[in-house]
Symmetry: C5
Subunit: 259 residues, 5 copies
């Protein structure tokens, strides 16, 4: 993972259970593949089940190794803090993954949850290194101690710790152009953006993607910003024009209207 | 486990200790086998003890790997939350099992219990995969945070997470025809029903089974709905007519009256 | 362990520390061996230390693998709940044991203690199975949630769970003739009794032993009921008459008076 | 360790951090060796660092495997309860130890600390047995539940449990002549004394040592009672006269005055 | 690590996330290498990433194995106590490290955090010993129970425990000339200083370094005292004159002004 790429996350169910816009996994997957997405982010069983389908495409497979819950109710968010590694790097390799991914979450109220998180990220980095699987770490600000999950300074700090723990690639929330430029300059590893503050229009999303590119980001690893859009296929195409072809927001927006 | 089947669970003692209608294990087992049940769900020691007896029949053996207690009193239910993996997939294979089974329980008050549950289900899925043993996961809504253990939306979310963790087969409570149809359509794996809201009459049970079949379910994995009925053997026969022969509730009910 | 037997437990020190009637271990052991006891229940280090002495006799050796404390004060009982596996089945085999033994304790206030207990009993059962060492499980009702530690229904439930976890043999408190008869009939494994409600006279103990035998129990695994009696050697002889020779209480009592 | 011996503990720093009378380890060690001490009790790194120096003497080396803290402040005592195994029996063998040592502490307020202690003592006993390293266990009464750390009955109970867990040798506080006689008689393993209630004069210490010898104890394993005395070398000589030569307190005291 | 050395720590990001003066890792690293620093202290991934660059210089590489957080907010300090081992000695060897480093932190409010710390330091010492990697332990006074993190007596106690746990080298805060002299005299291993009470001027830092040298310390392992200075390169040169050449503070200060 050291190149321009538009990656789409389809591991959302792993974390929140419910996703109205993503009921039929296989159909969604086919749509993304046909849209020439550069990479997929999904859980190990998902990659295993659809391995032969994905084999027909030239696409990166990033296996999500960890699991987040904010509740003991599926899809709930009531302050519970569950974060655990559920898959091993070795298993990821076994289903064809060429990278793995984990979150590093700051802002919890229970220090034991963060301590475990630090442990399993460092452990996974060590194992990934052995089996030659790049590890993507996603620093996040999320929990009862966080007011602004896009706080640039905190994200920069979390990103540095992610690197110090062994991240080969960073997937980070987009804190805005200036702060992101600083993060990329200081990061000795490739950086992709994970999404940003709620954006309403397609135009705003495209602006964020172009901003990330201009700041030195290698691309996007998006979930809801793709498949909760009206036309996911067109959105992927527009992102690709920005990331791969250097298109302006105007040019990319044209893709959205008439692909 | 990818075919129409009537499976009967005889692992009840593992979870609740007491079961008035199931005192003599061997007699119960013989009755079920003679009734041509398609599969048995039981703990590893049970499968081991009666291995040679079961060998004489063509029947699936699904080993229950986990253990649930709601109390430190045997058979009690006082809000305690105990859920632990007690048997390994390898041991299940050693006693002739051709599948394994675990519960995934949402609704607890203690997030650590769910976190452990997520861990051991994912671990077991990984091991089952290695030893080529399909893993049945039963999403459940059970505990102090749950008002309705047949809530369709929550069950659908829990089922998706079960799949994302590596379930090869789902065994799910029956939330009603409409919600179950939705679950089956979205699930990329076979689905069996585990039972439903308390039903009084045999007729109501048959209607649930036919409803599950019509919605695309592959069959039933029932416990009390079989051996707490007046005539377990006849009930199994009636279920088989619905599941295997496409019988209507009327036709199946005839089996109940005069097998 | 699938035969009539009078087994004496000399693992008491392991659990309560203090035992006035059992200060000199070796003397006690010689007395029991000379009394033709059929089996000994003791900790692994005890079996190791006296291995060559015991080798001279034809006697079963059952290794106690777990440890119970009700206090952090030796011999105390103040509501603390400590229960842990301290020896492994493999070590038991290494000191000549032909069976192992563990307690399964219901009635604690802390569910984590029961959850651990369930785990290590199931684990030990799996290992015992591999090394071909029968596992005796003793269901117990003991702790702050228990009013009557000889409650027949609860003991029956606990015994069923013990079997479902992998017990090859049950050692159970004696809940009375009727309830014990039911337990033995339902248990697919041999059952021994562990003792009963406080009995004052030798006669009452003999009645309990005869009652257990009449109900289908294979014998006794007693501790204090042997070596806290006035004449342990005579008591063992009397038990043997009941268990092996089918003697009546009257006949056995004769043994007590003039061996 | 099955012979008369005067052993000196120089593992004090491991437990309390501070020891004014023992600042220069190497000098203290040389003094003890020159005084013909029979054995040394020290941590694994200590034994490793001074291995070649000790090799020149004929002296037992007992490796302390565990660590006690009563505070998170070095040398503090504020009710915190920390007790953990820090070295393995295998490592002890690797640095030339011919025995290992652990404490078994009763009287804590947190049952989990005792439960861990029981676990690691039993585990170490199992491993020591395999690598042929005798295990010295020191039963102690220490913590918020203890009024008198030399209570004879409690020490006897704790000593029995230590034996039942696999102790090959006991190192016990000296509860007085009568109680110690009873302990030695009941213990199927050699017993050494660890010290006793605060004694002011050298004479009182000699009386304790002679009393322990007369009661059947094999010797002493002392720390502060040696190197907090005015003349540690003379004290060792006096102890040796009592333990090895059967000297009276008078005769040994003579050694103290004019060695 | 048994020689005079000026070591610079660049593992700061691992612990606190944020460091304004150290944004560009590679540039900082090059500056230090060009300044002829004798050793680097850094996390395993850092050493791995810049391994070939560092290979061009004759410089010690000390791998920091543990991670400290005082908050669940990156860079925060709000009383949370997180301390965990994140890298293994074996991995450190794999990236070219010739020593490893861990903190031993006294003064926490939670005894479990200290107990874990003691465990993993002792474990790492054992493994380091096997793979022939010297272990530097840094005793620290830090947390809610500490008023003065340079308390000489407490540091001496903590340093002794560090040695007793297996430290091959000590890196200790500088408690002042008198107390440090005592520490060095009593320590059977080499001692480096880690920094001292906040010093404002370069002159004061040089005085501390010279004081440490005069007291028998082998050198410095500094972080902020190097790269938060105005001219890190000149500071390193000045330190080297004191440590290697026996320069006075005056002479070394000259280096600062005109290198």
């Amino acid at each position: 993972m050291n190149e321009d790429a538009v990656v789409v996350a389809i591991d959302h169910g792993l974390h929140w259970g419910s996703y109205d816009d993503f009921a039929d996994r296989e159909a969604t997957l086919r749509t993304l593949l046909e849209a020439n997405v550069d990479g997929l982010l999904a859980g190990v069983p998902f990659l295993q089940r659809f391995q032969s389908l994905v084999d027909d495409y030239d696409v990166h497979r990033i296996a999500t190794l960890d699991l987040l819950h904010n509740s003991t109710i599926p899809g709930g968010d009531d302050g519970n803090e569950i974060h655990t590694q559920v898959f091993s790097p070795e298993t990821a390799v076994g289903v064809g993954a060429d990278a793995a991914k984990m979150a590093l979450v700051y802002g919890r109220s229970d220090p034991a949850v963060l301590s475990d998180n630090l442990d399993f990220v460092a452990d996974a980095a060590e194992v990934c290194n052995k089996v030659n699987l790049p590890l993507v770490v996603e620093p996040m600000l999320w929990g009862q101690e966080i007011d602004d999950e896009f706080n640039g300074e905190m994200l920069a700090d979390a990103a540095r710790i992610a690197f110090e723990l062994g991240a080969d690639v960073l997937k980070t929330p987009y804190p805005g152009a200036e702060e992101f430029t600083q993060m990329v300059e200081n990061a000795p590893v490739p950086v992709y953006i994970a999404g940003g503050p709620a954006v309403e229009s397609d135009w705003e999303v495209l602006e964020m993607v172009a901003g990330a590119r201009d700041a030195g980001g290698l691309g996007v690893m998006f979930g809801r910003n793709v498949w909760q859009r009206e036309d996911p296929e067109a959105v992927v195409t527009a992102f690709r024009r920005i990331i791969h072809d250097g298109a302006s927001v105007d040019e990319a927006a044209a893709a959205l209207e008439g692909v």
